[in-house]
């Protein structure tokens, strides 16, 4: 085990996969000479050269479309889209290109590319640089969407994503890059599509991904003081979703709170609620409660932004209400 920051864990995953497989290459805006605006690709251009680590023009639409066909023709591209807020520019390549070819071409092509991006609020970045558009991405059949919360998972899941033959969108969070944690050394991958129970509990299950897992863990501490035993399940992967883990936890606690940093209406939390209805309705003693962003733009000023973001305190309140 080594103590690492989340960004360093991602960097290690990229380095190891590039060393192991010459068909892996990185491209994106400001990722080479500068090392990425969040420093995830620091040092990689020096190590692997300008052919395999490319600074690109500001061209999200074409870059994503190019990742799709580069992946179809023998390489394993890893594309960095600087902010999740720019995901709308990538959508044709994901919705109308990447997600259809394996099926409509009857399995003739593989599509092993990774689109890394980072989202989330709390950094004062304003309405165009703070969003979580998870549900827009997870809506697309044929695209895997993952959002690890710990440095260990960041490394292990990025390695797995690069080796995956389907497109994977890898969601990072700007406020997780500096978080630290133990990361296993060596070539350790974490499978995509498997949840992890980070804290066992018996009264209520709280399901989250990415930075919302950190908030949920804090909420569990608060709830413990309230006399409530909360189970925290880090879904890690939004799609494919580990439905079995969700059902198993609810079978134990009979109560559920689902947390997502994206918008509420048609959001990822709504999908989780419906999934629970489909698979665990009989286990529930109370309706599922959602904790999400309200349906509005993310304001800049600190008290305004803080007031709207899902937080440990809001998760606690939701859990207590669910248990009432």
């Amino acid at each position: 085990m080594a103590m690492m920051r989340y960004a360093e864990a991602l960097n290690a995953a990229l380095r190891e996969e590039m060393q192991a497989d010459p068909s892996v290459f990185l491209f994106g805006e400001d990722i080479g000479r500068y090392g990425g605006v969040f420093k995830v690709t620091k040092g990689l251009m020096e190590e692997f050269g300008e052919t395999r680590v490319r600074d690109t023009p500001i061209s999200e639409q074409a870059l994503t479309a190019m990742a799709v066909t580069a992946a179809m023709t023998g390489t394993r591209p890893v594309l960095e889209i600087m902010y999740a807020d720019f995901v709308p520019l990538t959508l044709d390549a994901l919705v109308n290109q990447a997600s259809i070819y394996n099926y409509i071409w009857n399995g003739q092509v593989k599509m092993p590319f990774v689109l890394r991006t980072q989202g989330g609020g709390g950094a004062g970045a304003g309405a165009q640089h703070s969003k979580s558009l998870d549900s827009m991405l997870a809506h697309i059949p044929g695209i895997k969407v993952v959002a690890p919360s710990t440095p260990a998972d960041a490394k292990g899941m990025l390695k797995a994503a690069i080796r995956d033959d389907q497109p994977v969108v890898f969601l990072e969070h700007k406020l997780l890059y500096n978080t630290r944690g133990e990361v296993p050394e060596g070539d350790v991958t974490v499978p995509l599509g498997k949840a992890a129970t980070l804290r066992e509990g018996s009264d209520i299950s709280i399901f989250a991904t990415s930075k919302m897992v950190v908030e949920a863990l804090k909420a569990a501490d608060l709830l413990a003081a309230d006399g409530v035993s909360a189970e925290i399940v880090d879904l890690r992967s939004l799609r494919p979703l580990d439905v079995n883990a969700i059902v198993a936890s609810i079978a134990k606690t009979h109560h559920a709170v689902v947390v997502n940093e994206g918008w509420r209406f048609c959001g990822y939390a709504a999908e989780l609620s419906a999934t629970i209805m489909d698979h665990a309705f009989d286990e529930l003693d109370a309706p599922v409660t959602r904790v999400t962003l309200p349906d509005m733009p993310i304001p800049y000023s600190e008290p305004l932004e803080t007031a709207m973001l899902p937080s440990a305190e809001k998760i606690r309140t939701a859990a207590l209400k669910t248990l009432k």
């Binding site: 066909t69 179809m72 023709t73 390549a93 290109q97 099926y103």
Partner: protein
């Protein structure tokens, strides 16, 4: 002249153009009888572009095309039957009936593939070229795209990167004068779209798109440069869409005198005239009869081929049990 196709090569181009012509005309006839499904975008009158441009490519080279890609499919070496069977949604189609006529692919032949999002083929070919450059394969990617596609934002993004990184990609602009119904002058302030290539540090050449030999020559020059690592090039092929936009087109926006003038310069006539001097009437008549028979047989077979059966559990379905 440099890069002129040999008589053998020209004959093969002529033969493939004939296959495409019969394919399009047969589709037109079956559409009239109500026996086709969905819109069909014919390319008759424009065969020289798709066929002669792809005739330059090697087996390992790749091509991305448009919703009007039949000439590219046949030009890059796909047989007629799997294309026709795909158009009729048959299990025996190139993609088992999942793709339809606009999205045909044959990865083994390097056709990946048709694309019905206007403009999307341009970054598609550019991405393949990026992959070829990184792997050092020595192959070339080609994009055949329309004058409408040339106006998209993604066209600029992709061509800029192709020029910037000297990617092995050749952009073949099939300038058939129309987008869906609007004429070119309503879409662009410039008549010759390839003047934009200068902004991407790419050479460009404008050719008569109804002259297969001219298309072949210009595309060869660009493909050779690209293969040598000297970067992308563009060939603007001036042609004309003699049919409607698709089988759903109700017409009324193309001038009859324009159609007549372009029909008089049909690419089949242009090539035939040259080839007649090269090989004589008997040889051409033989090729023509064989091409017609090949297409007729492909239609007869495809129309009696089985339909596919729907299943959620196929390996190519992302959430099937088979995974």
């Amino acid at each position: 002249m440099k890069n002129t196709p040999s008589v053998e090569q020209h004959l093969e181009i002529y033969r493939r153009m004939l296959l495409v012509r019969h394919l399009e005309e047969s589709l037109g006839a079956l559409h009239k009888e109500g026996r086709t499904r969905g819109p069909i975008h014919r390319c008759d009158g424009q065969e020289a572009v798709g066929v002669a441009a792809t005739a330059v490519l090697e087996a390992g080279d790749k091509v991305a095309t448009t919703h009007r890609g039949h000439a590219v499919y046949i030009g890059k070496g796909m047989a007629v039957h799997p294309v026709v069977a795909e158009i009729f949604g048959r299990a025996t189609g190139a993609c088992g009936g999942r793709a339809g006529h606009m999205l045909v692919a044959d990865a083994e032949k390097g056709v990946i593939g048709g694309n019905a999002i206007v403009g999307a083929g341009i970054p598609a070919a550019t991405g393949m070229a990026l992959s070829m450059q990184i792997l050092g394969t020595g192959n070339v990617a080609m994009c055949v795209f329309g004058d409408g596609a040339a106006q998209t934002g993604i066209c600029h993004e992709a061509m800029n990167m192709a020029g910037l990184w000297k990617l092995p990609v050749v952009f073949v602009l099939e300038h058939n004068q129309f987008g869906l119904t609007v004429p070119s002058e309503v879409q662009s302030p410039v008549e010759d779209l390839s003047i934009r290539a200068a902004g991407y540090a790419m050479p460009a050449e404008i050719v008569d798109g109804n002259d297969a030999v001219a298309v072949y020559r210009a595309v060869s020059t660009m493909v050779e440069r690209a293969r040598r690592g000297e970067g992308p090039g563009m060939v603007e092929c001036k042609t004309y869409r003699i049919e409607g936009f698709s089988t759903s087109d109700m017409g009324g926006y193309q001038k009859p005198e324009d159609i007549a003038a372009w029909k008089a310069r049909d690419p089949l006539l242009v090539s035939r005239k040259v080839l007649l001097g090269d090989v004589g009437e008997a040889k051409l008549a033989g090729i023509e009869a064989a091409a017609k028979a090949e297409v007729d047989e492909a239609f007869a077979a495809a129309l009696s081929d089985p339909m596919p059966e729907f299943s959620l559990d196929e390996a190519c379905n992302p959430y099937s049990e088979a995974h």
